[in-house]
């Protein structure tokens, strides 16, 4: 184990390197580019044995990764924002083909107007593509999650792709101390990928052919859903093993912070969780019963886990760093649906924050908690969906 100071992008590249990604398809986009640059350097220096493809678009990057995966190789790519949405068609393809492609996505806003700063709309709008979605809080988590994702995705009970979101600049370009696990230990934790049905001239299969309504199409789709249902329990097992091997503990779909006796709980995903934790610590000292749930996985959506974690909360504020126009924040929608029909469900309000990379500070979060308490006191939600600090 070596400790190094590195950015989230470099941590992502290390995650792919330690996982011994065999085919890497690379296309540059700010603020992701450093991930593929670093991987190119690893390959050039002989530190990573991989086929490195300079593809001409993110669309081809994903197509090449899918095909390489179906030929039996472990694959990696990285993208962001416009690149991710360009891939959209192939994201559906990757899950439909049951390929364990792992991808880092630097969460960035979508144009126009051009904006290269953090937002989660890029990944949220891929909600229904059949990908497992992680949102990281730290660079260490980025590295570790990539390694664990391969274990998870390649598991015969899962066989689905995963994207690991890291917030633009707050993680991608911010340096932190990161433990780089020993390669030998990673090799032990993550053995070589063995595809169940690779393209093989000695066992020729036609893969992906037409399936009519009365044939198997609905069954193929249902099996993706079943695999998704197995993701969280499987992840819990893998994280337990990871803890034993590497000494770092992850807590499945959710991270609970001071929620035990909390009256008001905020829900957030991504790097802003650090700011919320800081605010919780400040407010706790003032005697306020506040807590935080960090959503680590958005797909599959951890409904049961959230309902359990919120069973004693009186008020829930959901922070969405994305928005579904004509409706509300994505996490808010999903959480409300999960809470439907539960007994004593808490009051719930949506806060739209940090759009296009607008800074989220402890002051912002303090005001959000304050508003939560006001609503709770009045037993009335003032505005169900509030765009915080909007100048119009």
């Amino acid at each position: 184990m070596v400790k190094k100071i590195m950015t989230g992008n470099v941590a992502a590249a290390w995650g792919a390197r330690l996982s011994r990604a065999e085919v890497i398809a690379a296309y540059p986009i700010t603020p992701q580019t450093i991930i593929v640059e670093k991987l190119a350097q690893f390959v050039s220096d002989g530190e990573l044995k991989a086929e490195y493809l300079h593809v001409e678009s993110e669309h081809s990057a994903m197509a090449a990764c899918i095909a390489a995966s179906q030929t039996g190789a472990r694959t990696f790519t990285a993208t962001s924002s416009q690149g991710l949405v360009l891939m959209h068609e192939l994201l559906h393809w990757a899950s439909g083909a049951r390929t364990p492609v792992v991808m880092a996505n630097v969460n960035r806003a979508l144009a126009p107007p051009w904006n290269v700063w953090v937002e989660h709309t890029d990944m949220m709008s891929q909600r229904d593509t059949g990908w497992i979605q992680f949102y990281a809080e730290s660079n260490q988590e980025v590295l570790d999650t990539i390694i664990m994702s391969y274990r998870l995705c390649e598991d015969k009970d899962i066989q689905l792709p995963a994207m690991i979101g890291l917030d633009a600049f707050y993680l991608s370009h911010t340096s932190e101390i990161v433990d780089i696990p020993d390669q030998e230990l990673v090799d032990k934790f993550l053995p070589q990928y063995e595809s169940s049905y690779p393209l093989d001239v000695d066992n020729p299969l036609s893969i992906g052919s037409l399936s009519m309504p009365h044939q198997w199409y609905p069954e193929f789709r249902y099996k993706i859903h079943e695999a998704m249902k197995r993701v969280i329990p499987k992840l819990n097992q893998i994280e337990e093993e990871f803890y034993k091997e590497f000494g770092r503990k992850y807590t499945g779909a959710l991270e609970l912070y001071n929620t035990k006796d909390a009256e008001v709980v905020l829900i957030v995903s991504g790097a802003a969780a650090g700011t919320v934790k800081e605010t919780v610590d400040i407010l706790k000292k003032k005697g306020l019963k506040v807590g935080l749930i960090r959503l680590r996985i958005f797909r599959p959506f951890p409904s049961e886990e959230l309902n359990k974690a919120l069973s004693k909360a009186s008020f829930v504020g959901v922070i969405d760093r994305s928005f579904s126009f004509g409706h509300e924040g994505a996490i808010f929608s999903e959480l409300k649906a999960s809470l439907y029909g539960t007994k004593n469900s808490p009051l719930i309000k949506n806060y739209i924050l940090g759009i296009g990379g607008r800074d989220i500070t402890t002051d912002t979060i303090s005001r959000v908690y304050d508003n939560c308490f006001t609503c709770l006191k009045n037993n009335k939600i003032d505005t169900p969906i509030e765009w915080v600090d909007i100048k119009v």
Partner: protein, 298 residues
């Protein structure tokens, strides 16, 4: 084993769902006869995506991967890269097999990328000159004068007036190691070229003439005759581009465009003047090709 110079082994079983007289089927059949058992093929949305059968049936005895419409070359790149890292590439040929729309329109970016990167793949475009699987819509390889469902000939014209994109020139501009046109009406030439493509270190591009009785509106039994006419008129010249050098393989341009056009319902509406215009375009292109051959051999 070969009979009359053609390998006897078959890699496509009977029971496929192609239309009677399908040119794509003949192209695929000859192609696989040469490439043999150790071949992985990938195909996008196109007629051939529907031909091998529905899951779990297949009429192919080689591994076949279906890919998204515009990703044939990127998919073949991914297969090749995976085979390389697994140390299997030397024994296996990777072939992307796409129609004209999947190649010259929606798939051209991925094709350009794959050739530029120099993947060791064979890319075959079976050119039936329109989006035939969706029912005969115009592609950029639909020929001058043809009526299609999106260029329907009407009282005020409406048929396609543009010339075909020259895919051979587009791939040649990438300095591709090997590109060739093939026509199933000339099987020996076809086989020789696929053998060469198989032996090339780097990307090969094969542009295959592929008749379509359903879309071109002619009697299915006329397919091979039509193919010969296409080459004898200079409409579909047989030639190769190898390391910058052009070689025209069949130089007897003895027939008029009209002879080819009049056999097909898709050209039935054309006035005589327009066919003359087509003739002049074909003649010019033929001359250009001969010049290119001459210059590149100097």
């Amino acid at each position: 084993m070969k009979r009359a110079g053609i390998p006897t082994e078959e890699f496509i079983y009977s029971g496929h769902t192609a239309c009677p007289g399908c040119g794509a089927m003949l192209v695929a059949r000859y192609l696989l006869k040469v490439l043999g058992k150790n071949t992985i093929m990938n195909i996008p949305a196109c007629c051939f995506a529907a031909i091998p059968g529905t899951f779990p049936d297949t009429c192919l005895s080689i591994p076949l991967l279906y890919n998204a419409f515009e990703t044939t070359a990127a998919t073949a790149s991914g297969i090749e890269a995976a085979l390389k890292i697994k140390g299997k590439k030397d024994k296996i040929t990777v072939v992307g097999f796409a129609g004209d729309g999947g190649t010259a329109d929606i798939g051209i970016q991925a094709l350009s990328g794959a050739i530029e990167r120099g993947h060791e793949i064979i890319y075959v475009c079976y050119d039936n000159e329109a989006y035939m699987n969706t029912g005969m819509q115009t592609s950029s390889l639909t020929p001058m004068g043809a009526t299609t469902t999106t260029n329907p000939a009407g009282k005020k014209g409406g048929w396609r007036t543009r010339t075909k994109k020259n895919m051979m020139e587009i791939v040649a501009a990438h300095n591709i190691p090997y590109a060739a046109t093939v026509n199933p009406s000339y099987p020996m030439d076809f086989i020789k070229k696929i053998e060469k493509a198989k032996s090339i270190k780097g990307t090969s591009y094969i542009h295959a003439y592929s008749v379509c009785p359903t879309g071109w509106r002619y009697q299915p039994e006329l397919g091979l005759e039509l193919g010969r006419l296409a080459t004898e008129t200079g409409i579909f010249p047989l030639y190769e581009f190898e390391n910058g050098v052009y070689t025209v393989n069949y130089k007897k341009k003895t027939k008029e465009v009209l002879e080819y056009y009049k056999l097909q319902g898709r050209f039935r509406h054309l006035p005589e003047d327009f066919i003359k215009e087509v003739q002049s375009v074909i003649d010019k292109e033929w001359q250009k090709l001969l010049y290119k051959e001459e210059c590149s051999h100097r």
